[in-house]
């Protein structure tokens, strides 16, 4: 489902070349919950950005759901992101001037769906994360945990095959963090593949696989049977 071969990332300037990620191979199957751990600056976010098509790899092959990512143009990548990937960010990344409904609806706007279908998907996603009664609220009216739930609903609204989460509990207190982790596990159990970058090793143990990134080198630490194969 997700296959990377000899993928690497280097940042080059006229005088300096920085190897952010050394060549690595990786396969992620449908239904896996992969935690990516490692110290700050190790290359976790770069890995997630490449996985989420937000950044291009310098070398190597990347296949996502049958598509050769390296050969896609900007428009095709946008479409693949829209249809296959949902993002959850540490800082929620909700647009402050849009209400909850509009924030969740945003990815669907780029998918040419009918108003009725968009509405059904948004309502379902918000119900799924327990925010069904807050359609008209604005992000500033919600707690951090609630905002992250809305961000997860936005990621889920498009029914993505992959959910990429970058430190999803990094800005939350432990109680809220537990709630978000439970939600992610539920989503994974429902069939969505999750790749989550985290600092928290306790949270990482809740994943079916743990990958460590250290100084740009990716290593598999542990592996369990996925929730849904």
């Amino acid at each position: 489902m997700l296959r990377m071969r000899k993928l690497e990332k280097a940042y080059r300037t006229d005088t300096v070349e920085t190897q952010a990620l050394y060549p690595f191979d990786l396969e992620v199957l449908q239904g896996e919950f992969v935690a990516v751990v490692g110290p700050s600056g190790s290359g976790k976010t770069t890995f997630l950005n490449i996985t989420g098509l937000l950044e291009a790899a310098s070398e190597g092959e990347y296949w996502l759901d049958g598509a050769d990512v390296c050969s896609l143009n900007d428009k095709q990548k946008s479409r693949l992101r829209n249809e296959k990937i949902g993002f959850v960010f540490q800082s929620f990344n909700l647009i402050p001037e849009l209400n909850i409904y509009d924030n969740v609806e945003m990815p669907l706007r780029y998918r040419k769906l009918s108003t009725a279908e968009r509405k059904a998907r948004v309502e379902h996603a918000l119900e799924q994360v327990g925010m069904g009664s807050r359609y008209t609220h604005f992000p500033s009216q919600l707690s951090g945990g609630q905002q992250q739930r809305v961000a997860i609903a936005r990621a889920l609204a498009g029914s993505p095959a992959f959910l990429l989460a970058d430190e999803p509990t990094g800005n939350l207190d432990s109680k809220m963090a537990d709630g978000v982790m439970s939600l992610l596990k539920e989503i994974n159990e429902a069939g969505t593949t999750i790749i989550m970058v985290t600092h928290d090793l306790v949270q990482a143990t809740q994943a079916s696989r743990v990958i460590e990134v250290k100084d740009g080198v990716i290593n598999e630490v542990s592996r369990r049977t996925p929730a849904i194969a």
Binding site: D74, R79, R81, Q90, L94, L98, Y110
Partner: protein, 442 residues
């Protein structure tokens, strides 16, 4: 999607209202300066008679001294006006669809029942009935005088709407009388609002001033010997036989502008041939001892030759255009600043699947709304500027300082198009962000 983009644009405009307002004002000022100068220049230089400009001509005959060319010009060119006797002759020969002499005088005007103290000095246009049809003059009441009035020099008059308001409180005054000096004239028609711009048919010095308020037959001026020597230009290469008005009429002194309307533009060579034949005929009688260089000149050509259009106004339009570009560059910089604050949102939208084209559309809508509002504000400011100009330059016709519906539309379209054009760079910069770098800053 269009409604979605408009909604996002409105939200963004509100969110960045100070910068947006500044961009709108900058565009409005530029558009207003350009459209004000362009409107004035256009109104001053436009074709005064677009439907007939190819078949209405000023008749120019080379009636001057055998000793020297008119005004000693190296390239011989006929005067712009002709003598009374040639005017009368050409009208009698009746070879054109319309014959319009432009002469005049001034006299004291009052109502018959008013005393001398109520009389006002009034400039009178002496012309023919064809004046009204040839120059497409609209009537509020009545019409021009009949052919007989031209032939017999009857004491009939057409007055302007303004004069009708002054003398008759705006009522239908057809059939009423006015006194011009000692002569009583019967009103046969009242004009509706009418401004020929530029007013090409007479003295070029008065091209941008309103038309006269009272019109009488040319033949009436001749018959009644109504002459005002200091009213208009007149030139004589040979002095009249004596100082009487009758002698002036019979002299070679030239002072009547004579326009003809031909039935089609194809008739121009034919009428020119007629003029040549007429001059040859007159030469046989001892007149017109200079080479035949008769001309039929259109209103626009005449105005250009007389330099009625100031080159300053053209320069002003160019300067205003440059000022608009400067304003748009400023607006571009403001829009760029505005969009820079949106880098994180752009990154997020890209992350959730918006293509570059989706984002270009979104920001193009926002820029267009800025341009639209700039255009509307610019339009309002243009009207204010034109109004102020009309108050400052009261000697010029108010019509110069007015805008047609087409120009209003052009103003708004200009604003939207130029904003889009100059907004393209900020848009491309805004959507060119690396999503990965910006996603942490929303």
């Amino acid at each position: 999607m269009i409604i979605y983009y408009i909604k996002l644009a409105c939200l963004s405009l509100w969110q960045t209202r100070s910068l947006s307002l500044l961009a709108i004002l900058v565009i409005a000022v530029g558009v207003s300066a350009t459209m004000t100068t362009y409107t004035i220049n256009y109104m001053m230089t436009k074709d005064p008679l677009p439907s007939k400009s190819d078949r209405v001509f000023l008749v120019r005959l080379n009636n001057w001294s055998p000793e020297a060319a008119y005004r000693n010009r190296v390239k011989e060119q006929p005067p712009t006006y002709i003598s009374v006797q040639d005017t009368v002759n050409l009208m009698r020969q009746d070879k054109a669809l319309g014959h319009v002499p432009i002469a005049g005088f001034k006299d004291m005007l009052k109502l018959p029942e008013q005393g001398a103290i109520d009389a006002n000095m009034t400039f009178v246009r002496a012309t023919s009935k064809d004046f009204f049809s040839t120059f497409e003059v609209p009537f509020l009441y009545g019409s021009g005088w009949p052919q007989d009035s031209d032939q017999n020099g009857e004491q009939v008059a057409v007055i302007s709407k303004k004069m009708n308001q002054t003398l008759f409180a705006g009522e239908n005054s057809v059939g009423r009388s006015v006194m011009l000096g000692e002569h009583q004239f019967k009103v046969v028609g009242v004009l509706d609002d009418w401004f020929a711009l530029p007013r090409f048919y007479g003295d070029s010095m008065r091209a941008f001033k309103p038309p006269r308020d009272i019109f009488v037959p040319f033949q009436t001026q001749i018959n009644l010997e109504l002459w005002t020597s200091n009213l208009q230009s007149y030139e004589c290469w040979k002095e009249p036989e004596n100082t009487t008005v009758a002698a002036l009429w019979a002299s070679e002194c030239i002072w009547v502008f004579f326009w003809v309307e031909l039935s089609s533009k194809e008739k121009k060579p034919e009428y020119l041939a007629f003029l040549d034949a007429y001059v040859q005929e007159q030469q046989a009688l001892g007149r017109f001892q200079r080479p035949i260089v008769n001309e039929l000149q259109s209103g626009s050509e005449y105005m250009q030759e007389r330099r009625a259009y100031s080159s300053d106004s053209k320069i002003a339009v160019w300067l205003a255009g440059c000022f608009l570009v400067l304003c748009l560059l400023n607006a571009m910089s403001i829009i760029m600043t505005k969009f820079q604050g949106k880098a994180a949102e752009v990154a997020l939208r890209r992350a959730v699947g918006a293509s570059s084209f989706d984002l270009v559309q979104q920001y193009a809508f926002e820029t267009s709304i800025i341009g639209l509002l700039g255009g509307v504000f610019g339009l309002v400011m243009t009207h204010v500027c034109l109004y102020v100009s009309s108050q400052l330059y009261t000697h010029l016709s108010k019509d110069i300082m007015s805008m047609s519906v087409e120009f209003m539309l052009v103003t708004v379209i200009l604003s939207v198009v130029s904003s889009l054009l100059f907004g393209l760079f900020p848009i491309m910069r805004a959507i060119g962000v690396q999503p990965a770098k910006q996603l942490k800053s929303l």
